[in-house]
Amino acid sequence: MPPESLELHIDYLISQFVDWLTVNYAGVFEQISDIIITLLLSVRHVFLIIPWWLLIAIIGIVGWLLTRRVTTTVTLVTLSFVIVFFGMWRPAIDTLSLVLTSVIIAIGLGIPVGVLMAEFDVINTVVTPILDMMQTLPGFVYLIPAIMLFGLGKVPATIATLIYSTPPVVRFTNIGLRQVSSEIMESATAFGTTRFQLLKEIRLPLAATSILGGINQTIMMALAMTVIASMIGAGGLGKHVLVAINRLKVGAGFEAGFSIVCLAIVIDRLSSGIAEHWRPPES
């Protein structure tokens, strides 16, 4: 053991800084909170208006339209029913709402950042190592800044989820835009496209498949993170796992845990199905 005299604590400095931040920028944090809460409640509201059986029917129909395969469709419906049988429908909807909220924000921030990275090499050089670092760190780490600034609850949970899950959509937007062949870009340029027209008419539509693949990964990472974020008040399925662990209730833990697996498979099949089926819109 190193002697205690070597310890050098900065915890009070950090606390002071955070206090200063939250006092002086209270308005900003409040606004961010408001936006997230509003979005979260609206998403959840939509899911709660739809009766559970109708939602399962929609999952089945969309699954069928995307894959045209009976086995996939039956699997999706069965997995949804497993969640119902375990009594986990309501927490599953809570989890789903948090995932979708953070994914909507992640897409809203991530695609523009990806576009900027593809358009400007300087931004690419600066942002790439940040994304690398964000993806190297375990999701757990993001809980700390989130609670420091927003306390406990759904808002910091959403923010931690958002930070953890944004990199893939940024990365895949950038890669997709950069992969458009130079021959195609050259012929478009020859017809007098502006930089913006080139982006809108040629590069973004051709990058769409890649971007949707990135969104799929973002969704899956968000789901993983909401489970971890149940420790700071995300609620939902993660909370049920956490409670079961604390009380050593193995059976209950299994039910909640297996519901997470079911939800993950359903979301993944649907979102990757959309990515594979994408055909750029005809204008």
Partner: protein, 280 residues
Amino acid sequence: MVVSNQKHIEVSNFWKIFTHDQEKIDVGSPEEIKRVEKDDSKVIAVRDVSFEVNRTEVFVIMGLSGSGKSTLVRCLLRLVEPTQGKAIMDGTDVTSLDKKELISFRREKIAMVFQHYGLFPHRTVIENAAFGLKIRGESKENRRKKATEVLETVGLAGWEDYYPAELSGGMRQRVGIARALSNDPPILLMDEPTSGLDPLIRRELQEELLHLQEKMEKTTVYITHDLDEALRLGDRLAVMKAGRFVQSGTPKEVLQNPADDYVARFVKDKQEQLKEAEVI
């Protein structure tokens, strides 16, 4: 409107030197050129090229692969920035245009057909054909009307709603040609439009181009490495070698008096064919 012998394209002392570091090179200094020639990281792709093309004339540039043909036409559109030189096309000094002027020049005055088609895979045949019109902001009806017309002219009526991937090579290049024609520019640039095609299809497309040229009378710079094609389509031709024009003139002049061995090798087979024909 058509005034023959009026200079429509005037290119003078064009140079393109590819460098990695965008270094400014003074092409006027022979020592500097010597230094660049020794430097493996720099390529002199176009070397002091000058030529003129009259209105409605088809000017063919011929040369082996790597001789700088593509680079030269790309410089005319400034898809590649020329290192030095001047190009006046349809009364506009292209080399002095700023970004905005260059964009409107590309929209109005000139269109290009590419060897590898350069079609947009996510757009249908008619959307590809109408691309230039869309880019310059023409109305939807206008676009549809003009593109439909042009597609019919190039023999693609009925294929409007297919995607490029569903077409054969020859048909794809027809889409490429339709895309260039729908803008109705006074000047056309064609970079080996038929060289990716089977001989039979190539022949067919050449016929088509001759036919179109009769009707539309565009001033055309046409790149090829095929002498037959050059002779069929060209009013005048230039032979390019290692970035330079080694000879230019009417097809007859070039055939009868090849300027050097390189040109002579190009035209040898043709000369023999002609001799045989005369004997018979």
